[in-house]
């Protein structure tokens, strides 16, 4: 078992076998080449993508299937091959961003793909799709303190 102190989870103990390697990192975080995928029962179905290179880096993600019932993309062979031999072996995650008004958006344009057996991951950009980088989830709420006047 290995250990890493993190701001979000305190001291994390983990099995090396559960480390997910991102050989190219992800855009803007190319040096973050190892992550853990963490689920906490109380916040399911959220999955936290916790960097093992920079412990302060942790993404909120959600399996695409929990948000979009018909997420229509076929991974290009160049994207799929390094991760899995079969699309059914891929976990597709969407990165979430919390906006200033407290609402969250999901990145449908650039999903994170992880091979369940290979434990390899990468973020792919669906260049030819009309999906949004900032697809809103739910309706933003403006609270009293946030209203402009």
């Amino acid at each position: 078992m290995a250990q890493i102190p993190t701001p979000h989870f305190g001291l994390l103990e983990y099995d090396e076998a559960s480390v997910i390697r991102f050989p190219e990192g992800i855009p803007a975080f190319e040096s973050d080449t190892a992550f853990l995928l963490i689920e906490k029962t109380e916040t399911a179905p959220l999955l936290y993508l916790q960097s093992l290179v920079h412990p302060e880096l942790c993404f909120y993600t959600v399996p695409a299937a929990t948000l979009v019932s018909d997420y229509a993309f076929r991974p290009a062979p160049a994207d799929l091959e390094p991760l899995a031999s079969n699309p059914a072996d891929l976990l597709t995650l969407l990165l979430l961003t919390f906006r200033e008004n407290g609402a969250a958006s999901a990145n449908l344009k650039a999903p994170v793909l992880i091979g369940r057996h290979s434990h390899l991951g990468r973020q792919v950009i669906l260049f030819d799709s009309d999906y949004s980088f900032e697809h809103p989830i739910g309706n933003p709420t403006v609270t009293e303190s946030e209203s402009p006047c």
Partner: protein, 83 residues
């Protein structure tokens, strides 16, 4: 921004080392050929946007409230916000 109109087969030169060739054109898509030194990065705009979006996601200052609200939306059967 300098805006130039080109037809298929025509070119634009950027300095001595970079050439833009208009290869093909359809109503929805232009195919562009680029001649440039190997060390010049050539990126689709979405790559820059992806980096920007990842940075925004990494800074997610999620409050307990916003996470609860999100979980409610995720767990509700009909995921109303995503069509």
């Amino acid at each position: 921004m300098l805006i130039i109109g080109r037809r298929v087969g025509e070119t634009i030169h950027l300095g001595p080392d970079v050439e833009i060739h208009i290869m093909d054109l359809t109503p929805s898509r232009v195919k562009i050929g680029i001649v440039a030194p190997k060390q010049l990065p050539i990126l689709r705009g979405e790559m820059i946007e992806a980096a920007r979006q990842n940075k925004a996601a990494s800074q997610a200052a999620a409050t307990g409230d916003s996470v609860s609200r999100l979980l409610t939306q995720l767990r509700s059967h009909n995921s109303p916000a995503l069509r």
